[in-house]
């Protein structure tokens, strides 16, 4: 767990450096300060389970078996990336190998989709759980409600982790909901909803494990709200001027990595040992990504349908007379 916390943080920091150097194509959404949620919950899943990450869940895909190279090649839109340059950042997955489902930008969509994966598993007689994350802001979407509505009456093995990092872009959670705890939304569906400390990786693991196993045992969908704080802006262009003074500093004291080091009783030597391993992995990923080619423009027409003859079309001005 500690290794993955450090790796996630290091990849994020390195990605921001690359972004400053104009090497990152498209958006970059930091997960700093929120790593414990991805990692604690991913550790609580079984290998056979399904999971859909969101923008701030690099940790989840790493724990599930995707590599640092996958992350970096995606950021740089390279031909060697999991989507071969088709889609941005962590929008990738591999159902068969890692159980990770590629999410899309439209927030909320993965709640119904993961409900469907739980449904599919049940129809096939498999005891897999489907888990997804959702931001505090995205709990205001219709998809959140529709997905959980269907999942609740169908008693599907779905776990929805609300990653309450207090802001949706610039909008504070108080402008999304009048609830103190977003887990109270569970009442609308008649399902269990609990709230916990998202910056304590062991608490995250413990609560996630409980939700996952309750869902697996037939208890239906579960909502787990984990409180945390988005330590950077929504994306690099955002200086977080809207965050009240002192709040970021207060949350820095609750940094999940520092807290876990204290629990583990790690001294400088242990930290440095893991730091060195992490640095090597990040270095390899960046080098690989930088040396990889961009995809060939010709590939853009492939793979829309199974039948690749449907899309390509030669207009008359490109044909021989």
């Amino acid at each position: 767990m500690y290794y993955f916390l450090r790796l996630t943080r290091a990849l994020d920091e390195r990605a921001h450096v690359l972004q400053q150097q104009n090497k990152v194509v498209g958006g970059l959404f930091s997960n700093q300060g929120q790593e414990a949620i991805s990692i604690g919950s991913a550790f609580a899943l079984e290998k056979r389970d399904y999971v859909a990450p969101m923008i701030r869940n690099i940790g989840t895909v790493l724990v599930r078996g995707h590599s640092a190279r996958d992350i970096m090649t995606q950021y740089l839109a390279k031909a060697t990336s999991p989507t071969r340059g088709r889609d941005n950042s962590q929008h990738f997955g591999d159902v068969e190998r890692t159980g990770v489902v590629a999410y899309i930008s439209m927030l909320g969509t993965m709640v119904p989709v993961m409900a469907g994966m739980a449904l599919g598993a049940r129809l096939k007689g498999e005891d897999r759980v489907a888990l997804t994350y959702i931001g505090d802001g995205a709990t205001s979407t219709g998809d959140f409600y529709e997905g959980l509505c269907l999942a609740s009456v169908q008693k599907l093995a779905l776990v929805v982790i609300i990653e309450n990092n207090q802001y949706a872009y610039s909008t504070p959670t108080s402008k999304q909901s009048l609830l103190e705890n977003l887990s109270d939304k569970a009442k609308a569906f008649g399902i269990p909803g609990i709230t916990g400390d998202g910056n304590d990786v062991l608490e995250v693991y413990r609560l996630a494990k409980r939700c996952i196993e309750d869902a697996r045992a037939g208890g239906g969908p579960q909502i787990l709200e984990l409180k945390t704080f988005r330590m950077r802006g929504h994306a690099p262009h955002d200086n977080q001027a809207y965050v009240p003074k002192g709040l970021i500093e207060a949350w820095r004291k609750k940094d999940p990595i520092g807290r876990f080091e204290a629990v583990l009783g790690f001294g400088e030597a242990e930290k440095a040992e893991v730091g060195a391993r992490v640095a090597a992995v990040v270095e390899d990923a960046v080098k690989f990504a930088e040396e990889s080619p961009l995809p060939d423009g010709k590939e853009a027409l492939q793979g829309v349908f199974e039948d690749d003859s449907i899309v390509p079309f030669t207009p008359w001005w490109r044909r021989d007379a």
Binding site: V113, G116, M117, C149, L150
Partner: protein
């Protein structure tokens, strides 16, 4: 051979696919004991059980998303919209999640979205829409619109077996009005191919859905004229070659769609012909369509909007004389 209505043919097609392939299952509102709003799935719950006939909550975005998720686990969901108009509520899931899925990360979405479609039933603006071009315009989706019982059965089978998302449109005005002999166990009919309903030399009329039947009436009224009628059957992928081939023979083309004018498939056909068959055209490509208005409720208003047999015959006659 049993004589089947359009509705029975769809129902039989669905039934045979479910019997043949255990990964096929149904989702939708009121499709279980009640058998669906139009009774397409009557008797399915008793035969296939609640595991394969899943009655959903009233949440289009929710159950469409769930169908996509179930498809990711290797199943082939068939989703019924109570009226196809409500597909608007699930637009995001279909165009953004399903339509882009294979392209983004290589995961095909073998889901069939089906439902009663089309106007003529005095059902007003929200139970009559032509929704085909919303999806034909959106990459990664196939759009199918049969006009006869045998095509409906065969094309539905093809949609269910297809590894990409298909939208299957069932003209509800045809449900119980037309009949045809369709063999049990009839084969799938390939998607993306138009059908020459009637050969001709002097004019090609391209149409689909209920308008095929109005076109055939109009052609009958224009007795003695050599008119070729093409039923598109699939809106996307469009059978460009069939349209171009026909025009090479007739030199004149008219399209008839119930869909509203701007952005209907008629415009795409006209554009294809301009690029592909310009030198074969002996007249303007004429579009007979509904005007750009919501489908109104009152019979007089609805009739004023939809292309009538008279409209079609008049346009064809004029173009033939051009």
């Amino acid at each position: 051979m049993p004589e089947l209505t359009f509705l029975d043919a769809i129902s039989r097609g669905l039934w045979e696919e479910m019997e043949a392939d255990p990964t096929v299952f149904l989702m939708g509102e009121d499709i279980g004991a009640y058998g669906g709003a139009f009774k397409v799935t009557k008797g399915f719950l008793e035969k296939f059980g609640p595991g394969r006939v899943i009655e959903t909550t009233l949440s289009e975005e929710g159950f469409v998303g769930a169908a996509i998720g179930a498809a990711y686990t290797g199943l082939r969901p068939v989703v019924e919209f109570q009226f196809i108009d409500f597909i608007a509520c699930a637009f995001d899931m279909i165009v953004n999640v399903a339509g882009t899925s294979r392209y983004r990360w290589g995961k095909g979405v073998p889901v069939t979205f089906r439902g009663p479609w089309g106007a003529g039933g005095r059902a007003g603006p929200f139970h009559s829409r032509s929704i085909e071009m919303w999806f034909a315009h959106s990459p990664g989706l196939k759009v199918v619109a049969p006009a006869t019982p045998s095509d409906a059965k065969g094309l539905l089978k093809a949609c269910i077996r297809d590894n990409d998302p298909c939208i299957f449109l069932e003209h509800k005005h045809l449900y119980r009005r037309i009949k045809e002999e369709v063999a049990d166990g009839s084969p799938a009919i390939p998607l993306g191919r138009a059908r020459v309903v009637r050969p001709g030399e002097d004019l090609t009329i391209v149409t689909y859905g209920m308008m095929l039947h109005r076109t055939m009436e109009a052609v009958a009224a224009l007795e003695g004229r050599s008119i070729e009628v093409l039923d598109l059957r699939t809106i996307y992928p469009l059978d460009r070659a069939a349209v171009v081939e026909s025009v090479k023979k007739t030199g004149k083309v008219m399209t008839v769609t119930e869909d509203t004018r701007t952005g209907s498939i008629a415009g795409e056909i006209a554009a294809v012909l301009c690029e592909e068959a310009f030198e074969h055209l002996d007249g303007p490509v004429v579009r007979v369509t509904s005007p750009d208005v919501p489908i109104p409720f009152a019979p007089t208003l609805e009739d004023a909007v939809l292309p009538s047999v008279k409209d079609i015959a008049g346009a064809a006659d004029r173009l033939l004389r051009y």
